[in-house]
Amino acid sequence: MAEFNVNVRESGKVKVLDLHGYLDAHTAPELEAAFTKLIDNNSYQVVVNFNSLNYISSAGLGVFMAYVETMRDNKGDIKFANMKEGVYNIFDLLGFPALYDFYPEEEEAVKKFDSSDNSEK
């Protein structure tokens, strides 16, 4: 089995990234490639599902920091869902909860995008 992989699917207008395995300095470029592709396709509303991610180092956290502003500048965001406690603790140590939205379930994160679209109208 691959050490890490990322799968992209659609939930309405929102793109959902499923992360699997171990996200470190070796595998972070795969996640960067996925984000670059989303931006190329003008997809800025992104939910990352961490359900199958077992491990993250600062190289992985850096990827979200590198892309979040582009998403937000284009009326999108990167929202996090289904994170295991051990992985969440690392995000917490680096101050992410003050600046990013975390949801227990993917569905809620996706809904949040839908409701913010409606409120703009």
Partner: protein, 138 residues
Amino acid sequence: MKKELSVNSTTENLKSIRDFIKYEALDAGFADEAANKIILAVDEACTNIIKHAYKYSIEGLINISVLNENNKFVVSIIDNGGHFNPNEVPEPDVKEYHKQRKPGGLGMFLMKKLMDEVIYNNLSDNRNQVVLVKNLPQ
């Protein structure tokens, strides 16, 4: 007894480094949660060596040794990528960090948060040593 692992400086080896540390940390008596902190701290230290000391050259060597003494789990990581002064790396202000999106410094910050002690030494022959210490559960 001292256990050692020596690997080339490539991110491909981070997995074997983590496996080695996991085995030793659990063997020393740490619970999963504490073992995971040590694993991440060692990953961060080695990632910094691969990136900054060896600048992604695979020729470099990383020597890791683990010692269990006086109720302390001591991980020593040595590279010979040229001397490095940890005081020149500013500690990130986490809020500012997110605004500036400047990479770097996060690994060292995490290491400090995750371990009980982090010590940097300049050794002879252009070698650097990072010592990561975690106190064993009493």
